[in-house]
């Protein structure tokens, strides 16, 4: 049983409460965008809501979930208490203060700049200061994770760091690299401008620094899902992980290739040349490799489980799997959504092909599927899985858990398939209201209503999720229990130093970043890089 249960639960409850509220905002947004009459239908309210929804889902849900799950993993996989619960709590309160500040800024209406806050449009300073505090809180988490792993290695010379912890630390290190870009943007460009010390901003530079963060951050969000695929799902299915080494290798490849690829978000930007766009496109293609490897390794682990349960033939093992278990069901649904979300991603990353979809509803559909779908459904499954060891209570019945997971997957498909199609028709992003009277836009109406229906299913599922976790009277207390991660077919006795630490990989990341981002950033310091006057949010 983890020692710091309250710490872990505090993180998870912040994540999940914010998540439910944000899901409600999401549905209201779908409603406003649709041809149906919605309450409070003004652009100011819409963008306030999208900022709240985006910040909550992308920054709060994820960061708090990952921190809480990281502490859980450190204690259960290493079987020792955290090196410093006091620091961990300090990180929690720092990040929570940041959330409070950011939320207050959004509520004031002075921060409707969306979660990407592209300058030279600017919000009230408290919006950015709050976000910085969230990041600082997460850096404390990174430090605790690094120390926990270092202590384990010192106490167990030569022993492999358990895969779940190795992956968690890979994510922590990646996060440190990731946040460098946006931190530099906020600290050196945005804060001086919003506090009034400078009047202009180099927008090309700010976009480039944000792109440094923008791709790797999605892998930061994705890591827990992959950790669950490798170290939880095989055991839940009654089998073992097919290959521990492939797990390590995949996590290392994510660390390497998530970072030097962020410029694929700038394919349509005028401030970069085709050369560097092409280099980063090629590196992006490489980041699909660890995902394809994962598809195989996890399929093989599941096949092993199915065969252990008596499954026969080429596909008979699939039927033999215990689909009634939430972790197994969620893994299946997550991979189903990954097919669509990953496929969309392959199109987005394809250089010239990005022009077909850039900044259309296709992109919104893509990231809701892969992030809201594949990733978040695994957050649900992880919560269900670890709840007994955290609270001494089982979540509400397994049947309601399954229903909740199904609703989420179905709702996500119903919401995003029409969105993909409309994106190809030219429906653009971040729109408070469409002019359905325009004959070029009118035909989109019915499909927008279909995706609204998908959004309603998602909200129902989100509420069910929290209800499943809430404590209830008359609940059976379970005996104290720890948590056991999946074993590998060949549990590693020793692993090569490179796959038991990160020194080599950090050096490689540094080299790759220099190649991918060196000149693209340097160019803004050569000659007279244009400066744009800042524009505090206006209009409406």
């Amino acid at each position: 049983m983890p020692q710091n249960r309250r710490l872990i639960l505090a993180h998870l409850w912040v994540a999940f409460s914010v998540f439910v509220l944000a899901a409600a905002l999401g549905v209201w947004q779908m409603w406003v965008r649709s041809p149906l009459a919605a309450p409070q239908d003004t652009p100011a309210r819409y963008y306030q809501s999208v900022t709240g929804h985006g910040v909550s889902m992308a920054y709060v849900l994820t960061t708090f979930f990952i921190m809480g799950f990281g502490y859980f993993t450190a204690e259960t996989a290493l079987k020792t208490p955290l090196p410093s619960a006091r620091w961990a709590w300090a990180g929690f309160w720092t990040a929570l203060a940041g959330v409070a500040m950011t939320v207050a800024a959004i509520l004031s209406g002075q921060a409707s700049v969306l979660y990407t806050f592209y300058p030279p449009m600017t919000a009230t300073p408290w919006f950015y200061v709050g976000l910085v505090l969230v990041v600082v809180g997460s850096w404390i988490w990174v430090a605790v994770m690094l120390v926990a792993m270092a202590r384990f290695k010192r106490a167990n010379p030569g022993a492999p760091v358990p895969l779940a912890m190795y992956a968690t630390v890979a994510n922590a290190i990646m996060w440190l690299w990731t946040t460098a870009g946006v931190s530099a943007e906020i600290l050196f460009q945005i804060l001086p401008a919003v506090f009034g010390w400078t009047q202009t901003i180099d927008v090309g530079l700010s976009r480039t620094l944000f792109s440094w963060t923008l791709h790797a951050i999605v892998y930061f969000w994705l890591f827990p899902a992959y950790i669950a695929f490798y170290t939880m799902a095989p055991r839940a299915a009654g089998g073992r992980l097919y290959s521990d080494t492939m797990g390590r290798l995949s996590f290392v490849l994510f660390l390497l290739y998530s970072l030097p690829v962020g410029m694929h978000h700038l394919f349509m930007d005028p401030e970069h040349s085709t050369g560097f766009k092409f280099i980063q496109m090629s590196l992006t293609a490489l980041v699909s490799i660890p995902t394809l490897l994962t598809v195989f390794t996890i399929s093989a682990s599941m096949e092993l489980a199915g065969r252990l349960r008596g499954g026969k033939g080429l596909f008979g093992w699939i039927k033999a799997l215990p689909w009634e278990r939430p972790m197994v069901l969620a893994t299946g649904l997550a991979f189903f959504m990954l097919w669509f979300g990953g496929g969309g991603g392959l199109i987005n990353m394809s250089y010239g092909m990005n022009a077909m979809v850039h900044n259309t509803a296709w992109v919104t559909a893509h990231f809701h599927l892969i992030f809201g779908g594949t990733v978040v459904i695994m957050y649900f499954a992880i919560a269900y899985e670890i709840w007994p060891s955290l609270t001494g209570r089982a979540p509400l019945s397994v049947a309601t858990q399954r229903l909740q997971l199904w609703l989420w997957a179905i709702g996500m498909m119903v919401m995003t398939l029409p969105w993909h199609y409309l994106g190809l028709q030219g429906q653009w992003r971040r729109v408070a209201s469409f002019n359905y009277a325009d004959p070029r836009i009118g035909p989109w109406g019915p499909l927008v209503i279909v995706s609204l229906a998908g959004g309603v299913l998602l909200l129902v599922s989100a509420v069910m999720f929290v209800m499943n976790l809430l404590p209830r009277r008359a609940q059976v207390r379970l005996p104290e229990q720890g948590y056991s991660f999946a074993l590998a077919v060949h549990p590693p006795q020793r692993v090569p130093a490179a796959l038991n630490g990160f020194t080599v990989w950090n050096v490689l990341v540094a080299i790759l970043m220099l190649v991918a981002y060196g000149f693209p950033i340097l160019q803004f310091f050569i000659g007279n890089s244009p400066q744009a006057v800042i524009h505090p949010l206006t209009g409406g």
Binding site: A300, R307, F315, V489
Partner: protein, 55 residues
């Protein structure tokens, strides 16, 4: 490995189940990846290229 971590599977059971593994996984991953490539190529030829040159 911690004792209480053991999943109760015996080496003999695993060896038996590993005999046919990963043929099914290879088939499943192969088919889904194949379909994925087909979908990508369909978008490329049927939607993207007809929309014309830009640059």
């Amino acid at each position: 490995m911690h004792e209480d971590d053991h999943d109760g599977l015996t080496p003999a059971q695993i060896a038996e189940a590993m005999k046919a593994t990963p043929r099914g996984a290879l088939a499943l991953a192969g088919i889904t990846t194949g379909l994925l490539m087909a979908a990508w190529l369909a978008m490329y030829f049927l939607v993207f290229l007809p929309r014309g040159s830009v640059g």
